[in-house]
């Protein structure tokens, strides 16, 4: 279950439609979705933020006032946090209060970790983060995967949650910018988590991969284990003024920055506008990643151009479903 933190709480009513925005480094992509019985794409646009919104609104025949913004690159820090509680009362059934306490511990831990990691990465000791997106990945009781822990008994309750945090300053700027576009910020989601969901094909537990989402100036590098984003790194090299050797070297440096990973997944997926750059896949296949990085074997490389910000429909469906439920 996805939780788009903070923002949904401020939006009690479900709008009829909304525009999903991906502010790329070189161009903005806008997708207008209607929120009737099911979520449907009504229009899309590309260009400057104003152009993209107007194009998508014109095509949809309606201009939404609510926006869902997918963020990536240097504006979001994704990580998966696993917390384990040694229960003092293993014979008692797990109650909602206990799960709530576990979640509280997870979010506290995640915020500390994200703040520590991102402040070091961007060299800003005063960095203040705000949680924007989260998703429960799994619950385990005494090491066994369970769908819902409520009512069960056991000594150790464990949960793994994906979280995305953004700098509070960025979110304030984003809200102000959207006001200029006559839009209200309805929700924020991580673009990388959308890609992971789209690529996992409803089997997240078996989805292990390295995702390289190459945009105009930034390539987002994500390491995914069991459908959970272990971490992301924004590599400031994209398809614009592309230099393959430098990019490959940059990918190697980015992967080396994921400290603690003992064995990377042997599957690399290329997405984004830059995925189709000629020679990219081949160059990656030929690059000796195994030389300095912990790969068990040379990874396979896939190019997936069918996934992207348009997949924010997935998030829209969950937001609409969650809001209906509310």
């Amino acid at each position: 279950m996805r939780n788009l933190l903070s923002f949904l709480k401020k939006t009690p009513a479900k709008p009829e439609n909304f525009v999903a925005l991906d502010f790329g480094t070189t161009s903005t992509k806008a997708f207008v979705f209607s929120l009737d019985e099911k979520v449907e794409l009504r229009g899309q646009g590309r260009g400057t933020p104003e152009e993209a919104v107007e194009q998508s609104a014109t095509q949809a025949g309606t201009r939404p006032t609510q926006a869902v913004v997918g963020i990536g690159g240097e504006n979001v820090w994704c990580l998966t946090t696993t917390v384990r509680l040694n229960r003092g009362n293993p014979g008692e059934e797990i109650k909602p209060e206990e799960v709530a306490k576990l979640q509280q511990q997870i979010f506290r831990t995640a915020l500390i970790q994200a703040t520590t990691q991102m402040s070091q990465f961007v060299n800003d000791p005063e960095l203040t983060l705000q949680p924007v997106d989260s998703e429960n990945l799994f619950y385990k009781i005494d090491g066994q995967l369970v769908g819902d822990p409520l009512g069960r008994v056991g000594q150790v309750l464990e949960a793994s949650v994906f979280t995305a945090h953004s700098p509070a300053v960025y979110l304030q700027q984003l809200t102000k910018f959207l006001k200029k576009l006559d839009l209200n910020l309805w929700a924020v989601c991580s673009l990388m988590s959308i890609l992971v969901r789209a690529l996992a094909n409803n089997e997240p537990q078996n989805f292990n991969a390295i995702i390289l989402d190459t945009g105009g100036r930034v390539t987002d590098v994500a390491v995914v284990f069991g459908g959970g984003i272990w971490g992301t790194r924004p590599l400031a090299l994209g398809g614009e003024n592309f230099a393959l050797p430098l990019w490959l070297s940059g990918i190697e440096t980015a992967l080396a920055d994921f400290e603690g990973v003992k064995s990377f997944p042997n599957r690399i997926i290329l997405t984004g506008g830059g995925a189709q750059i000629e020679g990219l896949k081949e160059g990656l296949l030929d690059y000796p990643l195994t030389r300095a990085l912990p790969f068990s074997s040379q990874p396979i490389v896939e190019v997936r151009t069918d996934v992207g910000p348009q997949n924010m429909k997935l998030v829209a469906e969950e937001i609409a479903g969650g809001n209906n439920a509310a």
Partner: protein
């Protein structure tokens, strides 16, 4: 090597390449201006260093980030003849007498007197009879007023006679001592038993150590029913929760383990309901169970309860009141039996003093019945009713209003209250509050009335008598009975009797 604030990774690398070609420098310092995107991306800095190294240039001056520490009122209306008129009447009689002697000493008169002497003597006899024989009785009903007066008297054992000035009359102190015993049923109920005891483990889910004082309350968490409470046997400190991080090839896990400590607890009250099964959970001192929770691993035991009958404070007071009333009655009768003659006992003035009371069971002591032994002393002053009335009569006489007299009726004196007091010398006395009812009648000056009535016709006498203040009814009887117009009041005051009547 200066960089522009807009230079990204590519631009910086290009400048390094150019610098490397244009000079043989192997070592260079890269100055990153404020706002440079390179400063906000550790990866970019790493790549920059790495690529420069490939060009044989060592880049210095790059900041790769530091560890960040986690953070609330008679009128005088008498028919008095003026004094000068009384004197004038006397003078006229004296002058008349002198002329009569002169006539009697004349010759003509001597004969006349000789012949008429007998007639005059007979007339004198008749006249004398007219003076001497008539007699009148005047009955006057005079108004009476009721006079009620209260007096505060003192009956003192040290007095031997009544003292009007000090309002004291003699008294005798009588003291009697009574002893009695009575039994009564106890009505109180009390739960008796033992408290359940056991051990409970306290879990601390916070980041700080927590100290719980001795007798901190643990409350059983339950949806319905009484929130049973237990108390910590002693003070203890429960350590904070611990967190440990472990990393495996595929995940990094933070494990939180609550701090815990086992403590001995005792039920707040007695009873079997406190014998809780193992696994029962408790909140502590009203703190959130999300932070502090206690649970017993083994069942609590030893709690039991039974209801017993006990003596209550109310039971003792009830029995004491009952026995005290009984002994007071007995003391009263004993004192009364010691009075003789007209000695009077004021029940209100009997003082009772409990000399001792002994209950064989204490309050709260378990018993079905209990016994009380009570010793009581009754003290009273008795005095002579006659002396009391005598003193009151004297005092009352001083209270009769001007122009009124105390009627010849018996005084009605009653003692409204009495209390034993202590004099300045410490001697006990009886202070008596009396209320005396008497009748006072208007004063009637009988001598003056008789003088004023002499020779008056009946009507005149009637009117005169009725005009006297305080007289409400007049009845005149004259002897010998003659027709009313001929009847007059006697000429001699001694032949007039006045009889006063009042209600």
């Amino acid at each position: 090597m200066p960089l522009e604030s807009t230079d990204g990774l590519l631009e910086a690398l290009e400048k390094i390449r150019r610098a490397a070609k244009s000079s043989a420098a192997e070592r260079g310092t890269l100055s990153l201006p404020d706002g440079s995107p390179l400063l906000r991306n550790r990866l970019s800095q790493k790549i920059l260093k790495k690529e420069a190294q490939k060009l044989g240039v060592v880049v210095e001056g790059l900041a790769l980030g530091d560890e960040r520490p986690p953070t609330f009122g008679f009128q005088e209306g008498v028919d008095i003849r003026p004094a000068d008129q009384v004197v004038e009447t006397g003078r006229r009689i004296e002058a008349g007498g002198r002329r009569l002697v002169e006539i009697l000493h004349s010759r003509g008169m001597k004969k006349f007197l000789l012949f008429s002497g007998t007639g005059l003597a007979g007339l004198g006899v008749v006249t004398a009879l007219l003076w001497m024989v008539p007699k009148a009785t005047v009955r006057l009903d005079v108004r009476s007023e009721s006079l009620v007066q209260g007096f505060e008297l003192v009956a003192s054992p040290s007095a031997t006679a009544i003292d009007t000035e000090k309002k004291i009359l003699p008294a005798v102190l009588i003291e009697v001592e009574e002893k009695g015993e009575q039994k009564a049923e106890a009505t109180g109920k009390k739960e008796k038993g033992t408290e359940a005891k056991g051990e409970s483990t306290i879990y601390n889910w916070t980041d700080d150590d927590k100290t719980f004082a001795k007798e901190t309350v643990l409350t059983l968490i339950r949806v319905e029913g009484e929130k049973l409470k237990f108390l910590l046997a002693e003070e203890l400190t429960v350590p904070a929760q611990t967190a440990s991080v472990s990393a495996t090839p595929e995940e990094r896990t933070t494990t939180y383990t609550p701090g815990k400590k086992t403590a001995a607890v005792t039920a707040e009250k007695v009873g079997e309901e406190y014998n809780l099964r193992a696994g029962s959970q408790f909140s502590l001192a009203g703190l959130s169970t999300d932070e502090f929770l206690a649970q017993n691993s083994e069942a609590f035991a030893g709690g039991k309860k039974e209801e017993v009958t006990i003596v209550t404070d109310e039971d003792q007071n009830r029995l004491l009141t009952r026995l005290k009333e009984e002994l007071e009655k007995k003391a009263r009768e004993d004192i009364q039996s010691r009075t003789v003659g007209d000695q009077k006992l004021s029940e209100e003035a009997i003082a009772y003093e409990v000399l001792g009371q002994t209950f064989d069971k204490e309050v709260d002591e378990e018993a079905t019945d209990f016994n009380l032994i009570l010793r009581l002393k009754g003290s009273a002053f008795i005095y002579s009713q006659k002396q009391l009335e005598e003193l009151v009569a004297k005092l009352l006489a001083e209270e009769v209003p001007e122009n009124f007299d105390l009627a010849d009726k018996e005084l009605a004196t009653e003692v409204s209250a009495a209390q034993i007091i202590e004099g300045d010398d410490g001697q006990k006395m009886l202070k008596i509050f009396t209320k005396t009812k008497a009748a006072v009648v208007s004063q009637v000056d009988q001598d003056r009335i008789k003088n004023d009535l002499v020779g008056r016709g009946l009507n005149s006498a009637q009117k005169y008598l009725e005009s006297i203040p305080g007289v409400v009814a007049v009845e005149i009887t004259v002897f010998p009975p003659l027709p009313r117009p001929l009847m007059r009041m006697p000429q001699l005051t001694s032949r007039i009797d006045i009889v006063l009547k009042h209600d």
